[in-house]
Subunit: 301 residues, 2 copies
């Protein structure tokens, strides 16, 4: 059984599974495990790892439209290096600070592979699920897509060496320190009919929203906000579009919003919102420029 | 740097580190990572692993004197077996149920080694820290100590085979499914001056309480509640006492309580409470039957 099959199995067993975070009364809880082999390319600074792993859980809180309260991390490594550990904690603390949450530590463990499990907690009187999108709603995306795809490319270039390897590595690390969209999620929450984050890629996010909301989508590629660095480093614009749509790990929000609410949302947040398409009836399918958009993307651990 | 050194470093960096769980307003949060090599002996059923890993975090909530609200787990394994996964979820759900918490799922991850990170959340208007023990207070321990030491011995016997291996294995699994002392923690909370769980062993717990409370302890070995199975399987009574004192992983509560409050605590809980000693001044040290009790025990990941 692969991860998606296992997740589907758990959805039938546990009522709370199936959204970005579990909701218990007004409490929102989400946990994620990341590890070296799949999540932290060579060259990922421990500060970046702390920022990114805690940020991934904060993004799930954002996707529920909740405020972020606190985060913890279990940090496992073969050995504990003082500077690495402190840098991890600084990255974790800093990403919490920018969203108004508190980083409150966690657990340490000896493990063969660098592995981090983060848990974030939020609160909201009402949360936004994946299941309420209605035909006619607009599909909004915060920020830009493809930042992590561009980051991975730069990590690879830095690993290959060259005169500017240090500068390339620094840019890669910067791209991996994404902004969890907690404030934008709060701005979207009163209006959004459905919401999730784009951690598995836009295409897969749309398929998951469609399954939960029983709807279709028509997406226009010209409207997809592609990260500038990705446009610069990808082989061509078509490749950049493909990566922006399917690579994932961008932790932007994908939300459906009634058109009459768009202005109110934009007034409530400084984060750029792109309208990438509209919600259709279920039997209209999921299309990009009129062509079927495959359920392709990253299956995250 | 070993785990204890790394933890000490983090205590200087993060205000919330240094107790069984972090406290944010009335919210209590704790996270733990467990894995095959160190925490789940051969023969540990996935149901037991689910129970035990989630229970370990619930025990930390109990040690704060908080109610347990919810728990999540990140479950990582080389492959996902349907029955194993469901058994894990059932164990996790069942241990939550007995303490009035909700198990709300978590994350799945492919990993070379079976690894579980659990996070539990609780709530309390006032929590009990490790730092308030006062000379003259009584030292209370819930339940019995050495259950896990006995369980490990039985896991080893079952692995060695023999005519009753299946029955021995079942007993070992039963011993590993401990009761998180949430209700007892609630009963102790209004009266306890300091509290923690015994997951690192009684000796180490006493050293940690002494460091936080700036006190000493006089413990009487005759009063230590040793698990019956441990008395049966240990080489002799001296070995049983040593294991009950230092093996840890029992997840009982160790609390200091003014003597005048003892009756009120006992009235408020059905869990057996043993009075194993008294709190002394700091310069009286930590003694067992008058002899210095070393800071020996299990350093947990």
């Amino acid at each position: 059984m692969d991860e998606r099959g296992a997740l589907a199995l758990l959805e039938t067993e546990l009522e709370a599974v199936g959204d970005d975070a579990a909701v218990i009364d007004s409490l929102v809880v989400t946990t994620d495990m990341l590890h070296d082999r799949t999540d932290f390319p060579d060259g990922t600074a421990r500060y970046t790892a702390g920022w990114r792993s805690v940020g991934a859980s904060l993004s799930d809180v954002a996707a529920m439209g909740a405020e972020a309260t606190a985060a913890v991390a279990a940090y496992a490594a073969p050995t504990f290096d003082r500077e690495e550990l402190l840098e991890f904690v600084r990255g974790a603390s800093d990403v919490c600070e920018i969203v108004g949450a508190e980083y409150v530590g966690g657990d340490l463990d000896e493990h063969q592979e660098f592995t981090v499990t983060t848990t974030a907690i939020g609160s909201a009187d009402e949360t936004v699920a994946r299941s309420g999108a209605r035909p006619g709603d607009l599909v909004c995306v915060t920020g830009t897509l493809g930042d992590s795809a561009a980051g991975l490319e730069l990590f690879q270039r830095a690993a290959d060496g060259g005169p500017n390897a240090d500068a390339v590595l620094e840019r890669a690390n910067d791209l991996f320190q994404f902004q969890p969209r907690v404030a934008a999620g709060r701005a979207l929450a009163p209006h959004a009919t459905a919401m999730m984050d784009s951690s598995d890629g836009l295409a897969r996010s749309l398929h998951q929203l469609a399954a939960a909301s029983d709807c279709g989508f028509a997406i226009e590629s010209d409207e997809i906000p592609i990260d500038d660095t990705l446009l610069e480093v990808a082989a061509d614009d078509a490749k950049a579009l493909e990566l922006a749509t399917t690579f994932g790990e961008d932790f932007e929000l994908v939300a459906t919003v009634p058109s009459e609410s768009l202005e109110a949302v934009r007034d409530a947040t400084d984060v750029p919102l792109s309208i990438v398409g509209t919600v259709l009836e279920c039997n209209d399918g999921i299309t990009l420029d009129g062509e079927t958009l495959a359920d392709a993307g990253y299956t995250h651990g």
